[in-house]
């Protein structure tokens, strides 16, 4: 045996019970957790969608018209419906967790969770309305 033990990040010699890849389907809380984790895929989809839109805008009016036409196809309407629901789920779970992730104190007392969550939703409504107002002027 060597004098210095060799540490590894993982311990392959430990006994581990095999867990199915579908472990999260056994219970509602686990399923909710995995669905929440999967919202990130649709967050990335949004970034790709907006990069695509920017490229169409850079290329000119025909490319932009083509982009709009593509989004009207049933495939994209279905995809965007699913993506919207996942992004909405992300927003709601994110706001509801906010008071647990960061404890806010005012004059030594903890701001109640309801107030922190309420402020998050108020900010969400205000920013959504502002973004819609800017986009819909055109």
């Amino acid at each position: 045996m060597s004098a210095e033990p060799h540490y590894t990040l993982y311990h392959p010699r430990w006994y581990r019970r095999r867990v199915s890849v579908w472990w999260w389907l056994q219970n509602r809380a686990y399923a909710g957790f995995v669905v929440r984790e999967l919202t990130s895929v649709f967050v990335a989809y949004f970034a790709v969608l907006y990069l695509w839109q920017l490229r169409a805008l850079a290329q000119g009016p025909e490319a932009y018209a083509q982009f709009l036409a593509r989004l009207r196809t049933p495939l994209f309407v279905a995809l965007d419906t699913v993506a919207f629901l996942f992004v909405l789920f992300h927003a709601i779970t994110w706001f509801n967790l906010a008071p647990k992730a960061m404890v806010l104190r005012l004059a030594g007392t903890r701001v109640p969770d309801r107030v922190v969550v309420g402020l998050n939703y108020a900010l969400w409504l205000a920013l959504s309305a502002a973004a819609a107002w800017v986009l819909l002027r055109g």
């Binding site: 967050v43 949004f46 920017l54 805008l57 994209f76 959504s128």
Partner: protein, 115 residues
């Protein structure tokens, strides 16, 4: 990876907040309301002018880049835990953050050169 872990968690949190506050309205308008004809989509000339404004360029850069880093961080752990790919740790991290960096570079290039 250990030294930049706090930065990655910060990007995850800030990106998640940006995504929660702003993605629903943008996705609803661009992906559903405009294509379904619920409201008239903005005209090309209007969007072109809007996008070339410095404030809009900065806004769109934040709107695209930060949520991508949020995705990279969360999806990385989804793959580890969900699919139990613990032996591919480094490859997954490089692919996820690499994709986020690539998307950020594309956003920067498009927003810099547009108009």
């Amino acid at each position: 990876m250990g030294r930049i872990a706090p930065l990655l968690w910060l990007l995850f949190t800030v990106g998640g907040t940006v995504a929660a506050l702003l993605l629903p309205v943008h996705l609803f308008l661009t992906g559903l309301a405009f294509p379904l004809g619920l409201v008239e989509p903005p005209r090309y000339e209007f969007l072109q002018r809007l996008v070339t404004h410095p404030v809009t360029r900065l806004y769109l850069f934040v709107l695209i880049s930060l949520p991508l880093f949020h995705w990279a961080h969360r999806f990385r752990y989804t793959l580890y835990d969900g699919l139990q790919l613990k032996h591919l740790t480094e490859l997954i991290a490089v692919l996820c953050y690499g994709a986020a960096l690539l998307g950020t570079a594309m956003a920067a290039y498009l927003l810099w050169t547009i108009g």
